[in-house]
């Protein structure tokens, strides 16, 4: 295939190996974070629930942080040591949260899970702060990873994430009706015929899986998982048959735009995309909090 005149090979190279994978990665990350936010909020019946309040993100940070600070590289994983550690630790974190919740409250009530998640997050963040204070040289790398970015990752994360996230989101979509029912009380959901404990465990694990994998490659990107499901609910209603696919779509597009802004707003600086989503997301977080206080359920 011949390129039109005036398009140099270096430009196609930039588009093919830098820009395009970056756009795909941003879309995948936005989609998976938004879907997992929607699931966590519905399953835990809490509009402020997200992978952050449940300790999933902190878990991933700790995993990546340990690798960076100790300068570890696993022989078989190579460049994937950080993503792998991030993923493993995020799953460990959600297991710890569920285990701890069950130990203090066998009924596994939603408030207990959120409380346990918050406690674990605070605890892990404290450890991270201590660790980074101890090793000043690596602190910049850790901070940069925690801010999240889609730059210079190439095609590999896209090719790994695409199948995992597609399967994960499809599996979540399969539980649309159970998700609808579980937004009501556990007692009612059980009486309607849903196996509440098992379904909730499955859904929390599925959404931790897709967030853990995503965060592991991109670093921590906040607020999108909290904000996007709320916007989609306002526009398309709370039924999960529409909420799940439209959260994926809206989240993906939102993340691509946020990343575009991060790259172009102050050229030639490549701002961390997490800062853009957080800057847009923080006022939104406050608005959700205030308006949900105003209309108590």
């Amino acid at each position: 295939m011949r390129l039109p005149d005036g398009v140099s090979p270096s430009e196609t190279g930039i588009i093919w190996s830098l820009r395009l994978p970056r756009v795909f990665l941003a879309f995948l990350a936005g989609a998976s974070l938004s879907v997992s936010g929607a699931v966590m909020q519905s399953v835990l019946k809490n509009p402020l629930a997200s992978s952050f309040t449940l300790g999933v993100s902190s878990g991933a940070s700790l995993g990546a942080g340990l690798v960076i600070l100790c300068g570890l590289t696993l022989p078989f994983a190579g460049a994937f040591t950080i993503p792998l550690a991030g993923f493993i630790f995020s799953v460990l974190a959600i297991f710890a949260v569920m285990r701890f919740s069950r130990a203090i409250d066998p009924g596994l009530s939603n408030n207990t899970i959120i409380l346990a998640g918050m406690i674990l997050s605070l605890f892990i963040n404290a450890i991270l702060t201590l660790l980074s204070a101890l090793s000043k040289e690596e602190i910049n790398r850790l901070i940069f990873w925690q801010m999240g970015s889609f730059a210079l990752k190439g095609w590999t994360p896209v090719l790994i994430l695409a199948p995992i996230l597609t399967i994960g989101i499809a599996a979540i979509y399969f539980f649309s009706r159970e998700l609808d029912i579980m937004t009501f009380s556990d007692d009612e959901a059980a009486a309607i015929g849903v196996n509440v404990k098992r379904t909730r465990r499955t859904l929390v694990l599925l959404s931790s899986l897709i967030t853990g994998c995503t965060i592991a490659f991109t670093g921590v990107i906040g607020f999108i998982d909290l904000a996007v499901p709320h916007i989609v609910r306002r526009i398309f209603g709370p039924a999960h048959r529409t909420l799940i696919p439209f959260s994926a779509l809206t989240g993906g597009i939102f993340m691509v735009i946020a990343d575009l802004l991060a790259r172009t707003i102050i050229p030639p600086l490549d701002l961390p995309v997490g800062a853009i989503t957080a800057a847009l997301g923080t006022p939104f977080f406050a608005w959700v909090y205030v308006s949900s206080r105003r209309n108590p359920a």
Binding site: R177, T183, D187, A190, A191, I192, G193, N195, G237, P238
Partner: protein
């Protein structure tokens, strides 16, 4: 009322960290309306949660399968051997207070009650039977004119009707009602009790209701069960129970005298 038994519980104990129910026996027959009464904290709601399968129990709780599609129809089986879907065809539970953080439409909320009849899967959609069941439940509860209203815009009484409609759409053999008239206005309290009468009169169904208002309990019940401190104190005809000796001991007052003097104010 005929003799076929729907629910039979024996030696039931249940609770949370410690047992609240002790050695409870309960029976519900087809066509029967059973009222559970007793002071606060006596275990009424706990017993209802056991009957609805929400709370695990010790002892025996037999459920006679009424579901037409079940291969075990007519057999009395232990409650714990039923799957969630099977159980939800036998008992439906109307909680005392309900809500959702997320604003579902009235119609969609009632349709959730059809979960136990729908096939799981990506593309299964409500059948005609499902839609008819939902529409008739909406009509029974007097909310057929607000199917598109969002739950967040409804009053407490309207919400209670929506959740009743959802439980009716579920089409269980036994309705388990936790203080069902609590949020309803006077008119719909009476309408509600008429509705339950008609619903139970099909002959293969039954209802168990927890009541604080003893006058409503009398209006509702064929049989009354008086509880105190997690035990069944007496069970029998409603008149006998409310005029018996035990009720005054349990409520620490002359119940019938007090209610009569209250009504003297009219």
């Amino acid at each position: 009322m005929n003799d076929s038994i729907l629910i039979q519980g024996k030696n039931l104990s249940a609770g949370y960290s410690a047992d609240i129910l002790h050695d409870v026996a309960i029976a519900l027959h087809a066509g029967e309306r059973l009222a559970i009464i007793g002071p606060n904290g006596c275990g009424k709601t706990t017993l209802l949660r056991v009957l609805s399968g929400i709370l695990p129990y010790k002892g025996s709780l037999l459920q006679t399968i009424q579901d037409k599609d079940s291969t075990r129809r007519g057999k009395a089986v232990e409650r714990t051997s039923l799957s969630g879907r099977e159980a939800s065809r036998e008992t439906g539970f109307l909680a005392q207070l309900s809500s959702s953080w997320f604003s579902f439409r009235v119609y969609d909320t009632v349709m959730l009650g059809r979960y136990n009849r729908q096939k799981p899967g990506f593309f299964s959609s409500p059948s005609r039977t499902d839609r008819e069941a939902v529409e008739s439940a909406l009509k029974s509860c007097g909310i057929e004119n607000i199917p598109d209203e969002s739950l967040s815009r409804l009053s407490g009484g309207q919400l209670q009707r929506v959740f009743l409609a959802r439980t009716l759409a579920q089409d269980p053999a036994v309705l388990l009602l936790d203080e069902p008239t609590n949020h309803l206005d006077l008119h719909f309290q009476f309408e509600f009790l008429d509705l339950i009468d008609r619903w139970v009169s099909s002959g293969t169904r039954g209802a168990v209701g927890v009541f604080h208002d003893l006058s409503l309990a009398l209006r509702f019940a064929d049989t009354m069960l008086l509880m105190d401190e997690g035990r069944v104190i007496s069970c029998g005809s409603p008149k006998d129970i409310v005029h018996g000796k035990e009720i005054n001991k349990v409520y620490k007052m002359d119940v019938s005298l007090s209610v009569h003097s209250l009504l003297q104010n009219w």
